[in-house]
Amino acid sequence: MTTAPTTQTSVQPTAVPASNSVAETSSRGSMLTIRNLSKTFRLHMLGGVELPAISEVSFEVLPGEFVGLSGPSGAGKSTVLKCIHRTYLATSGEILYRSAHRGTVDLVSVAEGEILEFRRTEIGFVSQFLRVIPRVGAQDLVAEPIRLRLGVDLETARLRAASLLDRLGIPRKLFSAYPATFSGGEQQRVNIARAVAWEPRLLLLDEPTASLDKRSVDAVVELFAQLRENGATMVGVFHDPELLERITDRVVRIGAEP
Amino acid sequence: MRVREWMDREAAPRSTFAFLDDGAKKDVRRALLKAVAIPGYQVPYGSREMPLARGWGTGGIQITLSLLKPDDIVKVIDQGCDGSVNAVNIKKFYERTAGVEITTDTALATLVQTRHRIPEEPLTDRQILVLQVPYPEALREVEPSEAQTRRMHAEADYARMWLHLYEDIVRFGEIRISYRYPCTVNGRHVMDPSPIPRWDVPKLHMADALFLFGAGRERRIYAIPPHTRVEPLEFEDHRFRVEDFSGKSCARCGATDTFLDEILMPDGSQTHYCSDSGHCDKRRAGWKPC
């Protein structure tokens, strides 16, 4: 890997903050450049024992690309996604993200406020489990991010939410019910709808199809395909290796080489 | 030696003009100066023992004694009346200890001491009105702690006083305070005007005379200097109102423009007299208010 300073051909039209001068060396054109990313958990309750989760992970994601992460169980695939989302604090390495309006930033070190701003306007995350909110029905749960992040009125947001839930096969009679009472598969589909409804620019998928049946998986896959057509870049971890091969452009292997 | 002679001899060299010794007068005057400088603010002072029980006007008496000059003409009233026992006793006290002239005519007086009324006749810039105050703290109704009420005054934190009035209006449709109506003085301190009726409150506003308030038992002195704003607490949609005597008049002088006392006659009927007896007498003697 080269660390030679680049010439005048900077990829960034916008100004890069001084603390992120490393951005200069990011590969031209990539949306996400992950370099030597390591994460070690330190468990104080067990006398400070250290558990390495990932070590020296490097890969790139191009704009509009769908990159899948593969690897044995426990290799740290989810850890990579969570480091990108800053749910985990990386121990070392860098995650250079080419944002829409703020130039290229290192998601490992950029200020919390910036991360929150990216999460609000650019980066979405689909987790394995739905986070229910008390007293909020399924349709409103999905409508909320549409309304808040895209600035549309409540009626429009609810209509869009309804069509999304329709596509994912949630029965209409459940729209106003509280998702806490739903089955695992239904909850997961509501979760996906909520996460993608506002069409984030970069979507991180952490086993979004784990608890879904075949038909629902197809609906979700179709939804992802449409998001990509609209320009979304995605990085995902999937339970099913065959599905991973089928829907991603490229697979990056995490953990020891086979 | 007879007891009387002994008393005269003992008393003679010590008795000073207007009873109080110079130290006590100085203390009161110092408090008065501060009170005038901060209108409506209660100045603590060392209230002295008087030959009268606390709660019988000792605060007002100490102020008067500290201010008296030999050429003063003094009027003392008790709820408007020059002839009540308390007023008469106090007048005699001033006569004996200061040798000042006593009058019942408000216009002639240089100093008026009063309990619970302000004379009907407007006071001039040559006159001082001394009011006797039983409870100087206007906020006591809403806050029992002295430390807290002092803090509230210091920070002009009067929301609870206002809330008290708000609750009255919500519950009873009007403010129920008939006397001791709280007022904002000079746009700053909320002050208890002593137990004068609402009728008298407007007389405090932008007056020509100096008003001095003395609470002997509570050891507080406060003041309203001449030409000071005194505004009763009121809401834009619930204005302060004085007592309504429309359709009633004084049975002695016929006045329809004064504060009237309601008198129950032996036969059960009601009649009304002027509360300000000096004013009533003057009218009966043919004097016309201008």
């Binding site: 330190r42 800053r86 929150l116 909110i133 008390p134 | 920070e155 708000y166």
Partner: protein, 291 residues
């Protein structure tokens, strides 16, 4: 999102303090009380920043100093040292001496006189305490409770105040037929909702919530939290949320500070605090959570 409030080095000490205090109290020492002089360091060197329309969580066990911190921010209690500043707010423009010319930030509010502090507080903050009796006058009507802050801010029209109070009580789901009843007659959940209405009466940009749902039944708690979420969004509120309940923090807050024995041991994005806690105490806290 621009910063709205910032505080630096906030400290609250009860007691004389001594040379040994700093070494023998705090998160690492496991106590906030100095064994030598007996001083209690309820809050020690806490710095924070609250952005517009952001909710900042403060978690910790009882005695960690989290409630003291909001009381200091609300001027309920004077800070021993530290600074508090507010960004230029339209609500504070009528109060003299708050902003120096050309400055985007106020002067230090902790060193201002109590009169100004109260005016700043009335204009910019609302607070909801865990115990309704701290925030409400139990013998005064609910409408009167809401009106108190308005009166403090100089409102002098009964009609306008009643209109505002009924609007807020309606928003917090208190039946208007009970507007003139004192909160003493109400259930705990209802009292809490009257408190919220009172806190919002002056239309403040900042809302401080101190254990707002603690001690309520689960269904009542859900109702109160849902109401806070809705109001926050509609009124574009910034909030400081104190709770020992990580679920409440997770639901409401984007960022979180963890306190122990008066000190901040860790702060970060809420999901990071919950999923990748760095400090031993936070790890213990997260591991102790009911799922």
């Amino acid at each position: 999102m621009e910063a709205l409030l910032r505080a630096h080095g906030i400290t609250r000490r009860y007691g004389p303090g001594c040379a040994l205090c700093l070494d023998s109290t705090g998160a690492d020492a496991g106590t906030n009380r100095c064994p030598t002089c007996g001083s209690v360091w309820a809050c020690r060197d806490v710095s924070l920043e609250l952005r517009a329309e952001e909710a900042l969580g403060i978690v910790g066990e009882s005695g960690s100093g989290k409630s003291t911190l909001v009381k200091l921010l609300h001027f309920d209690d004077p800070a021993t040292s530290g600074y508090l500043e507010l960004a230029r707010l339209r609500q504070l423009e009528g109060i003299g001496g708050i902003y120096a010319d050309g400055c985007d930030w106020s002067r230090d509010l902790f060193s201002m006189d109590r009169y100004r502090q109260r005016r700043v507080r009335d204009a910019s903050m609302g607070i909801v305490y865990q115990h309704p009796h701290l925030g409400l006058r139990m013998g005064v009507s609910s409408g009167g409770n809401v009106a108190e802050r308005l009166l403090s801010a100089g409102w002098r029209s009964i009609g306008a105040m009643r209109q505002r109070a009924s609007h807020l009580l309606e928003r917090t789901e208190i039946p208007l037929s009970r507007m003139d009843e004192p909160p003493r007659n109400f259930s705990g959940g209802m009292q809490q909702r009257v408190q919220i209405a009172k806190a919002l009466s002056g239309d403040p940009p900042i809302l401080l919530l101190d254990e707002v749902s603690t001690g309520l039944d689960l269904s009542v708690q859900a109702r109160v939290l849902d109401m806070i979420r809705t109001l926050r969004e509609e009124l574009r509120l910034s909030m400081v949320v104190v709770s020992h309940d990580l679920g409440v923090i997770h639901l409401l807050c984007q960022r979180t500070m963890v306190m122990k024995n008066g000190q901040v041991v860790e702060s970060g994005l809420t999901d990071q605090i919950l999923q990748d806690p760095q400090h031993g105490y936070t790890q213990l806290l997260v591991a102790s959570q009911l799922q």
